[in-house]
Amino acid sequence: MGNPMTEQSQTPETVSSPQGVAGDSSPIIKVEGMHKWYGDFHVLRDLNLDVKQGERIVICGPSGSGKSTFIRCINRLEEHQQGKIIVDNVELTDDIRQIDTVRREVGMVFQHFNLFPHLTVLENCCLSPMWVRKIPRKEAEATAMEYLERVKIPDQAHKFPGQLSGGQQQRVAIARALCMKPKIMLFDEPTSALDPEMIKEVLDVMIELAGSGMTMLCVTHEMGFAKTVADRVIFMDAGEIVEEAPPHEFFTNPQEPRTQKFLKQILQH
């Protein structure tokens, strides 16, 4: 194992897109032969995935296909029972220290935002940097304001989450995750709980983030977003990765019949 706890900064600007990266650079996320069961139910079957630094991956598929469960395994919100998951050179095992190490480097955005309602927006953003990274309050607040600026809601910093709209809450959630300066961002259906007019403001923030070279794994039904920013689109069905292709190929020339059927259904309207 390498040393994942070295002083790290924001993802280096030099790594722009995976096409430019040499094939021998080790992946930042490596999933090998991963299986998961809920009781007897086999939710994830033999998943294999390598994600390079700076790569943007969109995972789609019908509901119940295990796509959320899959990305929740990557920061161990769900436990896998077989196979290997290595994130930033740290393997996810039962060891709580390894899990905490990985979670510090992986930011997550949830469908239902999950902001802490008893804390203000600014406090939400500062909580983890202050208590986990031990950054002094002043510095943490400055960083938080920077990210709130980036998601375009610095003026809401002293409000409580309950006073914000859904779209604003989700942007705060993105800022909160970014305040930990993660190497990887996971998005679990970030726009599914939003009203249509709020989806765009969240997607805009995500597109901006993708442009900055962040490694992103995104479960979403927003095919427009997939077309614009994804380096690869992964289609899952019944717990398996059915197809994996760059967006252009994926949308224009899907190989698997299950993919074709899915695309036909969602692109009909």
Binding site: N75, I96, R103, N114, F116, S128, W131, V132, P161, G162
Partner: protein, 361 residues
């Protein structure tokens, strides 16, 4: 903003309209209003005259109670005993200091915007018991020792309730967390502890603490009855508190736990910074309810020979020198309890309003 210039119709405003709507809206409401009015007028008069108009306030000794009303002389004559028990007269200033500190710490909690309110509250929960620990029993700093067998009255009630409340909240929180732990041994121990203590009446606990505990303790180890009662009350109360707090923990959506996990907050930070602040806020009414019932349950220490305020009053109303003073005594006790319990209740309502951040998770 444009203010509407239309006024509501006259009929819906003013006391007459209010009465028409709330008291005489239909024939049976009118009937009920008249009936209740009659009962109030006929019973309130005699009650007030017993309590105040015909009562005897001034004087010394039973002879001064001549009126038909209450004999408050009895209460004022015995007030010293009701408040301090057998605490020596020349040392009572120590108890008075504690009463004053208690008021200084907690009365400002009811006054919005009182300077340093938060710090006074923190002092009330840390410094105050510490000072009391040295001041009340004495024996150090050149203070004369007053054994706990001489404590009694309202002072004893407050000591029992205050320490029980202060200790049961953190112990109960730990038990609640333990009961929801992933670790089977910790969870098992907490379940057993809670279920055993909660299934036993407080009287039994007190009896065990005062009579049976000494039998189990090794030779030479012995601590006085009051400490044993306090430990019993605290553990018993913690079991109740644990279940109240567990209710709050269960009401926190799973997303909050997951968000805290995803941010890399470890178990204790997740609980301390994210989950417990929300869970405790949710169960403030339940927690205060438990406090209030503990406050009243302290009267049970009477059965192990400790004289709390009720015990003190009960032991004096049988005094043959005074006749028929039981009602006065009990009214006084009821008033004491009501003041403190109502205070707690009001404070919890303040707290709920203050902590409301307008969210629905």
């Amino acid at each position: 903003m444009t203010e509407s210039t239309m006024k509501p119709p006259k009929k819906t405003l003013g006391p007459v309209a209010w009465m028409r709507e709330h008291l005489f809206s239909s024939w049976y409401n009118t009937l009920l209003t008249l009936l209740i009015g009659y009962v109030l007028v006929t019973s309130l008069g005699p009650l007030l005259s017993w309590l105040f108009f015909d009562a005897n306030f001034a004087g010394t000794g039973p002879e001064s109670c001549t009126g038909a009303g209450a004999c408050w002389v009895f209460v004022s004559e015995r007030l010293n005993f009701f408040i301090y028990g057998f605490y020596p007269d020349d040392q009572q200033w120590r108890v008075d200091v504690m009463f004053i500190l208690l008021a200084v710490a907690f009365v400002p909690q009811f006054i919005e915007g009182f300077p340093g309110r938060k710090w006074l509250g923190i002092f009330g929960m840390t410094g105050l018991p510490l000072i009391g620990y040295f001041l009340i029993p004495g024996g150090s700093f050149g203070l004369e020792e007053v054994p706990s067998t001489k404590w009694g009255g309202l002072m004893l009630t407050l000591i029992l309730a205050y320490i029980g409340i202060l200790a049961s909240l953190p112990i109960g929180t730990l038990l609640a967390l333990g009961r929801r732990s992933d670790m089977p041994i910790i969870r098992g121990l907490c379940v057993v502890f809670i279920e055993v203590w909660r299934a036993v009446p407080l009287i039994t606990v007190l009896f065990m603490a005062s009579v049976m505990l000494p039998l189990f303790l090794p030779e030479g180890v012995n601590f006085e009855k009051l400490s044993r009662a306090l430990i019993g009350i605290t553990l018993w109360q913690s079991a109740y508190m644990a279940e109240v707090i567990r209710g709050g923990l269960q009401a926190i959506p799973r997303g909050q736990y997951e968000a805290a996990d995803a941010l890399g907050l470890g178990y204790w930070k997740k609980m301390g910074l994210v989950i417990l602040p929300q869970a405790l806020k949710l169960v403030i009414p339940g927690i205060v309810n438990t406090f209030i019932s503990l406050f009243k349950d302290t009267t049970l220490v009477l059965i192990i020979g400790l004289f709390d305020v009720l015990g003190a009053v009960q032991s004096t109303i049988t005094d043959p020198a005074w006749q028929n003073v039981a009602s006065e005594g009990y009214v006084f006790v009821a008033f004491c309890f009501w003041v403190f319990c109502f205070g707690m209740s009001r404070y919890s309502q303040n707290l709920e309003r203050k902590l409301d951040t307008g969210h629905k998770t």
